[in-house]
């Protein structure tokens, strides 16, 4: 139990670090020196020390949005294993709760955006819910495929039973699921090619524009929530690659954290070499992930 709590705290402590890694990677590609690896920690700390400015249009929903989202994401992170070791909370069917908690976070982020009465934020909110319509079934089916090959229904068990190493075995199910999950991972975390985390111009108005009016503590909460969400969805990917854990917990931990950093580097590379898709193409991109998940399930039926 103590170890599980310690792992949960590690997730909370480590997750903002990955954003530093992404930004460093992007800086490297752009030929810049880049910000500190701990930049997001500084940012959140700075935001926590600020006062607040609220629009006269907004209501308590605007304040509640970031709080509810962060709490929902934190609860979801309690369901996610760390380095292949069981999570704080794990039970049969926890993957359903996991996806729905992310849905709850989205519900209130969207409402907080609509609360400002700004058409920009309305636009972002509208796109966010549209993409979720495609991403959610894809996530469910990907996890169902993993559940089928491991014979379990809890995220922790799935990852501790997943002994097939994707590169060694050439198992198509795993490859397809990784493809599907990677697309969902980029979408849910508002990364290129679906969304551009660096701007909130009209062309890319999705997640960044939804939080345009937030500031101070509220924005700090949103950043923190985004960092944890990045970590827990990333765990689904690294967990597949690391497979079973065997060489003692210290080795597992080091490998896992290293894996998460590699993932962050990959995201940084993707953002450096790819352009954002046209918004009209994003649903097609998401349907690709749905198709990959369905194919993976088809392969599990052989």
């Amino acid at each position: 139990m103590v170890i599980k709590i310690a792992q949960f705290i590690l997730i909370i402590l480590l997750s903002p670090f990955l954003f530093g890694v992404i930004n460093r990677t992007k800086a490297f590609f752009a030929g810049r020196k880049g910000s500190s690896l701990f930049q997001l920690y500084y940012d959140i700390f700075k935001l926590f020390q600020k006062g607040a400015v609220y629009s006269t249009t907004t209501t308590w929903i605007f304040v509640a949005g970031p709080i509810i989202s962060l709490s929902a994401i934190l609860t979801a992170s309690a369901l996610i294993p760390f380095a292949g070791h069981p999570s704080l909370v794990s039970f049969d069917g926890d993957l359903i709760l996991f996806i729905y908690l992310l849905g709850l976070a989205r519900f209130f982020t969207v409402l907080a955006a609509l609360d400002t009465g700004s058409s920009f934020e309305g636009m972002g909110a509208s796109r966010e819910v549209q993409f979720a319509v495609f991403a959610e079934p894809a996530l469910f089916l990907s996890l169902a495929a993993l559940a089928r090959i491991t014979g379990t229904l809890s995220i922790s068990d799935i990852f501790s039973n997943l002994t097939i190493h994707p590169l060694a075995m050439g198992e198509p199910v795993i490859f397809l699921v990784v493809g599907a999950l990677f697309i969902i991972f980029l979408t849910e975390n508002s990364r290129i090619p679906v969304d551009d985390p660096n701007t909130h111009l009209e062309l890319t108005m999705i997640h960044e524009v939804m939080v345009l009016d937030h500031g101070g503590v509220d924005l700090g909460y949103i950043f923190y929530g985004a960092a944890i969400k990045f970590w827990i969805l990333g765990t689904l990917l690294t967990g597949i690659f690391l497979g079973a854990h065997s060489k003692g917990w210290a080795w597992d931990y080091v490998m896992f954290i290293f894996g998460m950093m590699i993932l962050a580097v990959i995201v940084g590379v993707v953002e450096s070499v790819l352009a954002r898709l046209r918004l009209i193409k994003v649903p097609h991109f998401l349907i690709v992930s749905l198709a990959l998940a369905v194919l993976a399930l088809a392969f599990t039926m052989r």
Binding site: L70, T75, G93, G117, L141
Partner: protein, 655 residues
């Protein structure tokens, strides 16, 4: 049984009283409502006090009819939602109908309301087919009169007509179904029907039941009356109709399934397909609506779809001898019946407040109502989150059980696995679309700035309207937290329903209670997180400056409320993506030239089935009926001659 019959009597008496008190509008308003509230309280009390009521059978001068009534666990579940919701809706109705004082006949509105409640109770407790059909017909007719409460409006009258026709077509199928069943058993008492008929009869009866009861419940494509009738009725009646009355179709279907013995394999699949189609198309059409109550009506179709998915899984479990599917499928479906009664009742009551205060149901002209009515807004938000199936509220629990039943079966034989996966994908899609739909409904109506003058004088309603909504919102939260305690209640229902022995039902329920306990813990974790982050925010902001300015508009100097996103623009990306199915119609004047003059834009989405199936079908019927006019010419003498011929023909046939 006694208390229940007293409450039934109270409903009839108070209903008749208000009809006599018609001249004193104020008094009749109170008498009618108090009758319904007291009857509801007595009814709920009787369910809890008397666990095993004695069945009652009285002779009745109707051929083949016995006045036999009884309560079993399945009936008790439905009685619970009938009594709870009718009491709350009646309470709300007092204040809602007060505004029609002097303009409308409030006495008759209460008469039909109480009659509707009484007839629904009769439907559930009836144990004789004739009695059942009479109660069913009473229910349809009394709700028809409630729908046409504002019948002087053309749209309302048309909605009433559509409802009347649809419900009678449904009843026609039920009549044939009960005649077939009664004929094969030689009796119309349900108690005689315990031995299932053999041969093709069960399948025929099943189809008739799906069409007949499905019309009432709103299965696609028999749903077309729902989006017409629900918006037309007064809001407390819409809440009762959508929350409870359409569930009578579910009750009837489940009840008839118990008469048919072992179901065929395809029954379960058929129900699941109906569930998926109703669920997905229901929420899609809801998303495309701009009329709040019409949107909610389409959402009822979606939720009926989810319920039918659960029941379909249960039926599939019965035919494949799979206790996990039987227990979790039926519990998921039936629990969703209760949950849907809570949150849809709540949402319709909330929509009633919006309608009463702003005089419009058009989402696009509303906005910023949360500031004018914070309490109603909060309740509506709870309902909206619950209907999306979001944790930690009640909607999640029932959807979880259906998901769980499916996930538990993704390891078995291929047909069952495929079914389970399709259900998982469908539920996930429905969940995503529901979030889009209810962020739209709540966000556009209650948040932002008012989009028109409609919202100017809006204010919080009185306590009689707030209290029922508060109770329902509380029920949504509490059911979410108390789910592990609620699940074992379904034990006896499932045993009764499926004939699976107790010792096989119990372990499955226990298997499902365990995750639910964890979900409750996670919910508490979530609530604690909320409090912590709220406290942290307060501490951090202490002594700091908090400013109020207008929303950031990228430097634009004169933002106006009309620049906000509307319901139509919010839903546009999804609606346009699926325009092949939804076929939205766009009307408007496009912008042209450098200094455009007036322009307008409007979208509307008509019902696919109404346009492509029912309209051509009824046109055909109309044309064919036209060919028979030579037969019906209005000459009385010839009509009497027809009667004579018929009698002679029957006589000869009987000889």
């Amino acid at each position: 049984m006694g208390i229940l019959l007293y409450s039934l009597g109270l409903l009839v008496i108070s209903g008749s009283c208000v009809l006599c008190l018609n001249r004193f509008a104020k008094l009749s308003n109170y008498v009618g409502a108090v009758g319904a509230v007291l009857a509801g309280m007595m009814g709920v009390g009787s369910l809890f006090l008397n666990s095993s009521p004695v069945p009652l059978t009285l002779p009745w001068p109707v051929p083949n009819g016995f006045f036999s009534v009884a309560i079993d666990p399945l009936g008790a579940l439905f009685l619970f939602i009938i009594f709870t919701l009718s009491a709350l809706c009646a309470l709300y109705g007092i204040e809602y109908l007060r505004h029609y004082n002097g303009k409308k006949n409030i006495g008759s509105a209460w008469f039909f309301f109480n009659l509707l409640v009484a007839s629904m109770v009769m439907v559930v407790i009836a144990r004789n087919a004739i009695l059942f059909l009479i109660a069913w017909e009473l229910m349809s007719v009394s709700s028809f009169f409630l729908v046409i409460f504002e019948g002087e409006k053309r749209k309302v009258a048309r909605a009433g007509l559509i409802y009347l026709i649809a419900t009678h077509i449904g009843t026609l199928f039920l009549l044939v179904m009960f005649l077939l069943l009664g004929n094969s058993h030689g009796s119309f008492d349900f108690i005689e029907w315990s031995v299932a008929p053999t041969g093709f009869l069960p399948s025929v009866v099943f189809i008739l039941a799906v069409v007949g009861f499905g019309t009432k419940a709103g299965f696609m494509p028999m749903h077309i009356w729902l989006p017409e009738a629900h918006p037309a009725a007064p809001s407390h009646v819409s809440a009762l109709m959508s929350g409870v009355m359409i569930k009578m179709g579910i009750y009837g279907l489940v009840r008839v399934l118990t008469f048919l013995g072992m179901p065929c394999l395809w029954w379960g699949y058929l129900l699941i397909i109906i569930g998926i189609v109703s669920g997905i198309l229901g929420v899609l059409f809801a998303l495309a609506q701009h009329d709040l109550k019409r949107l909610l009506a389409y959402h009822s179709i979606e939720n009926i779809g989810i319920i039918v998915m659960g029941i379909g899984l249960g039926v599939l479990g019965l035919s494949t001898n799979n206790p996990v599917l039987i227990v979790l499928g039926f519990i998921g479906g039936l629990l969703h019946v209760v949950n849907h009664a809570f949150f849809k009742g709540l949402l319709f009551l909330g929509a009633g407040v919006v309608l009463q205060q702003t005089k419009t149901r058009e989402i696009d002209v509303l906005g910023g109502l949360l500031k004018k009515m914070p309490i109603t807004g909060l309740y509506f938000l709870v309902g909206a989150a619950a209907i999306c199936g979001l944790p930690p509220l009640n909607g999640f629990i029932s959807e979880f059980l259906i998901y769980f039943a499916s996930f538990k079966n993704i390891f078995g034989s291929i047909p069952v696995v495929l079914t389970a996966l399709v259900i998982i994908a469908a539920l996930a899609l429905i969940g995503g679309l529901a979030v889009a739909c209810f962020t739209k409904a709540f966000g556009i109506i209650f948040l932002g700035e008012a989009r028109s003058a409609h919202c100017q004088d809006a204010h919080e309603p009185g306590v009689l309207m707030r209290l029922p909504m508060g109770i329902l919102a509380g029920a949504c939260v509490l059911t979410g937290l108390a789910s592990p305690l609620i699940l074992p209640v379904f034990n006896s229902i499932i045993v009764d329903l499926s004939g699976v022995p107790q010792d096989r039902v119990q372990p499955v329920i226990f298997e499902a209670v365990n995750p639910l306990i964890w979900i409750v813990m996670a919910s508490l974790f979530f609530y604690i997180g909320l409090l912590l982050f709220m406290a942290l925010r307060r501490v951090l902001l202490q002594g700091r400056k908090i400013d109020s300015v207008s929303t950031w508009d990228c430097g634009y100097a004169r933002p106006s409320a009309r620049m906000q996103y509307t319901a139509s623009s919010y839903a546009q990306p999804i609606v346009d993506f699926l325009k092949g199915i939804l076929r939205p119609q766009k009307h408007g004047i496009a912008l042209s030239k450098y200094f455009p003059s007036d322009s307008s834009f409007k979208t509307e989405t008509a019902d696919m089935f109404q346009e492509t199936v029912f309209r051509p079908l009824f046109r055909l019927v109309h044309r064919l009926a036209g060919k028979l006019t030579w037969f019906q010419h209005g000459r009385l003498q010839l009509y009497i001659l027809y009667i004579l011929f018929t009698l002679v023909a029957l006589l000869i046939w009987k000889l």
